[in-house]
């Protein structure tokens, strides 16, 4: 057995644990911590008070601290840091942790804990934080001895950002924070057991290129892994897609890795993906998946998923490969390095791709594209109801005209899908959405974290009127730190996505999905020291968007949209890709929904 024990670093002079903790954070390059104080972490707040290197952003709910750290991480490629107290502070953070786990976002969450001698005694504000967060994190630690503190903090950062990134909890008993602890700098030796493979296997690359060169109907399907692998990975993807001339589609999480305006981009795939992307996936003969995980929102009915294709799967996490869909070529590695290796091997291989077949494939794809499955009709008469798709399209166009660097976050529901369909991302790290967990309440705190990282950028949370209420308290954080986040609510007065499923799958029984007793969002904004705007009809829309973009501070723009609009295309849960439901604009092609869809989520 080969082990590489870390050579003992010479510990430097000891100091109270809380100070050692801050020193470790500083050495990890941490500039911002999102947190909320409490008894167990008071020693850390004391240490924060006495220094200036690390900025603390006081959120209004611990869940929001984690989403803010996620927004920070996703928009910068760095590790987001959270600090919460024991007991309720830690349990409130759990939703955020699972969100980060599902979407592979690097977060380190420091939780306070009761003193070691009280652990297990049901002490005040004690919770079994490592027990509760074990399945909610990539890894977690309970620091039981001062001499482990610095090492564990450094390790937490390493684990959070390495391989497939994810959230890591470090549980810190109060006596450890008060007692003296030695400092050790970040280790230089490899970790004793966790060493993810980043370099792809040359043999697998060769087999992949052989398949790709012989493809007649290829498709490249990319996911959040490309974003996580850094901007170089997006660059490598662009080069590879252009070199091959192949069509490229993306998951919800991968949007922006390949420019949306490029003609080789087919748009998003999956449950609410484009007609052309899903049919290309269904009909392809060779599929190259880079950094996506064959999620059920993408595959639909597994047995009918892309039945005629040979599949190549690139993922840094070996457990993602052959999990749902058996593949022909498995490549474990970093998305960026693998794409560069594929590019080199593609160039080195003398074989010519089948250009005639490719041209024929593109003709087919263009025919699908011609269907324009995202089509909708916006009446322009004065007083006409705003179509939600149109609101996003105008938001997109007017932000483009404004020409500022723009970041978009979303809540969860129809508005999220319309944002993914109609807002075009040209670059990675500009799009923050809760994909895997689908957490309502994600968007506002995530936007907050993005704005902290990019103070001069335009940051917009595209929201639903139901979701926004789940973390609305963060408006106070925006006010306190003068964060000019814009909240753009597509207010359809329904939990629209729930209403849509009830309409399509539950006989129109709209059980508990009406957003009754909504607040007056304009007054709500004003009471949080922000600007409140509202648009009631299509003629008011552009003016409101412009006013929102011009306002120097935070804004809530309440956009009243068509209450009955559904999000199409839609592949019902459990249906294959070629049984997509198209919208009312395509009435004639509507397909039935399988009963099996009823039991699926």
């Amino acid at each position: 057995m080969s082990t590489h024990p870390t050579p003992p670093e010479t510990p430097s002079a000891s100091a109270p644990g809380a100070e050692i903790l801050l020193r470790a954070l500083k050495d990890q390059g941490v500039e911002v911590v999102f947190g909320y104080p409490g008894g167990a972490v008071l020693p850390i707040y004391d240490a924060i008070f006495r220094q200036n290197a690390i900025r603390h952003i006081l959120v209004r709910h611990e869940q929001a601290a984690v989403h803010a750290a996620e927004g920070y991480a996703r928009s910068t490629g760095r590790v987001g840091v959270v600090l919460v107290t024991s007991g309720p502070g830690a349990t409130n953070a759990v939703t955020g942790l699972v969100d980060a786990l599902m979407d592979s976002i690097p977060v380190v969450c420091l939780t306070g804990q009761v003193p070691t001698h009280l652990i297990g005694n049901d002490a005040f504000q004690e919770a079994d934080t490592t027990g509760i967060t074990r399945p909610a994190t990539k890894h977690n630690y309970l620091v039981k001895r001062g001499e482990d503190l610095a090492r564990v903090v450094h390790e937490a950062f390493y684990v959070a950002r390495s391989g497939r990134p994810g959230p890591v909890v470090v549980d810190l008993p109060k006596d450890i924070l008060i007692g003296a602890a030695p400092y050790t700098p970040p280790p230089t030796a490899p970790h004793r057991s966790y060493r993810p493979q980043t370099e792809p296997n040359a043999d697998a690359i060769a087999r992949a290129v052989a398949l790709l060169k012989g493809a007649k109907r290829p498709v490249i399907y990319t996911g959040g892994g490309v974003i996580n692998a850094g901007t170089e990975a997006s660059e490598a993807l662009r080069s590879f897609v252009r070199r091959t001339g192949f069509p490229c589609t993306s998951t919800l999480m991968g949007l922006g890795a390949y420019p949306a305006s490029d003609p080789q981009f087919l748009g998003m795939l999956g449950m609410h993906g484009t007609y052309e992307a899903n049919l290309a996936m269904h009909g392809c003969d060779v599929m190259l998946n880079v950094g996506a995980r064959f999620d059920d929102r993408v595959t639909g009915k597994l047995a009918a998923f892309s039945p005629g294709s040979r599949k190549i799967h690139v993922d840094i996490d070996p457990s993602s490969i052959n999990k749902n869909v058996p593949v022909d070529v498995a490549i474990v590695g970093d998305a960026g390095r693998t794409l560069l290796a594929l590019l080199r091997a593609w160039d080195a291989d003398a074989a010519e791709p089948d250009r005639a077949a490719l041209a024929e494939w593109w003709r087919q794809i263009d025919a699908w594209r011609g269907k324009d499955a995202l089509r909708y009709t916006q009446p322009q008469t004065k007083g006409a109801v705003i179509k939600p798709q149109y609101a996003i399209q105008r938001l997109y166009q007017l932000t483009r005209e404004a020409g500022r660097e723009t970041f978009i976050s979303t809540e969860v529901g129809q508005h999220q899908m319309w944002a993914a369909q109609f807002f075009k991302f040209e670059q990675p790290n500009r799009w923050m959405t809760s994909g895997g967990l689908g957490t309502m309440g994600y968007g506002l705190p995530a936007a907050m974290g993005v704005q902290i990282a990019h103070p001069d950028a335009l940051v917009i949370d595209i929201a639903g009127e139901a979701s926004i209420l789940m973390n609305i308290q963060e408006m106070a954080t925006l006010a306190q730190y003068r964060l000019p986040v814009k909240v753009f609510i597509l207010n359809n007065r329904y939990m629209g996505m729930v209403r849509q499923w009830q309409e399509l799958l539950h006989g129109g029984r709209y059980s508990e999905s009406y957003s009754a007793a909504l607040p007056d969002f304009v007054k709500l904004a004003e009471s949080f020291h922000a600007t409140g705007l509202h648009a009631r009809s299509v003629d008011e829309l552009d003016g409101v968007i412009r006013a929102m973009l011009e306002a120097p501070g935070p804004v809530i723009a309440d956009i009243a949209v068509d209450e009955k609009e559904n999000c199409f295309p839609m592949i019902p849960s459990g249906a294959p890709h070629n049984e997509m439901i198209l919208g009312p604009e395509h009435e004639a092609d509507a397909a039935g929904i399988a009963d099996a869809g009823l039991v699926l989520v």
């Binding site: 057995m1 399945p135 990539k138 309970l142 039981k144 057991s193 047995a303 070996p318 052959n322 058996p326």
Partner: protein, 188 residues
């Protein structure tokens, strides 16, 4: 016959579609882990959280200083599920190495059982002792109305012995679960 498990057993089978996953098989997997707090909970949580079966699980420190432990897991599933289990185990931070002994070739898998028979003097008592002798079970405790046998062997052998003891006054069974390693020079 369903055998007692030394650890809580997760009982629903994976939802993995059988056709894609190939045939159902049993696998004995050894995992070398850092002997740190929570590592066993991590492994068990992985199995229960993802709906994998645990037929047997043993764990004990195996290195000087107790820094590392070896976990032996007997599980079952389609080939695809077993590959998943290995990949999921391998990505746990404190896991150093895993070995699918069933796949690697011939291996030895043994467990130990303590088996208590309550039988006053008579035919049953004599029969139990005779069978114990045939199975090479050792008597480690005896009173005028009871025995405790200690027996080491494969799971099948222990199962068979326990089944034979049932009509002869079987009162209690305590089993260790499987310890396993590959035959020949190969080490984990």
């Amino acid at each position: 016959m369903r055998r007692e498990s030394p650890m809580p057993v997760s009982c629903w089978c994976s939802s993995m579609s059988g056709e894609a996953g190939g045939g159902y098989r049993s696998a004995t997997i050894s995992v070398l882990v850092d002997n740190e707090a929570g590592v066993l909970a991590r492994v068990i949580g992985l199995f229960s959280g993802r709906g994998y079966n645990i037929d047997s699980l043993t764990v004990a420190p195996v290195e000087d200083g107790g820094q590392r432990s070896r976990i032996n897991i007997v599980t079952s599933g389609t080939q695809m599920v077993i590959e998943q289990i290995k990949a999921q185990l391998d990505r746990l931070v404190p896991v150093h190495r895993i070995a699918d002994l069933t796949q690697l070739g011939p291996h030895i898998a043994r467990e130990m059982a303590l088996i208590k028979i309550v039988a006053p003097a008579g035919d049953k008592r004599a029969e139990a002792l005779r069978l114990a002798d045939a199975f090479r079970a050792r008597v480690v405790d005896a009173t005028t109305e009871s025995f405790v046998f200690e027996m080491t062997g494969s799971t099948d052998k222990l199962d068979a012995f326990v089944a034979l003891m049932r009509p002869l006054g079987l009162a209690e069974v305590s089993r260790t679960g499987v310890a396993a390693m590959a035959r020949g020079p190969r080490a984990i």
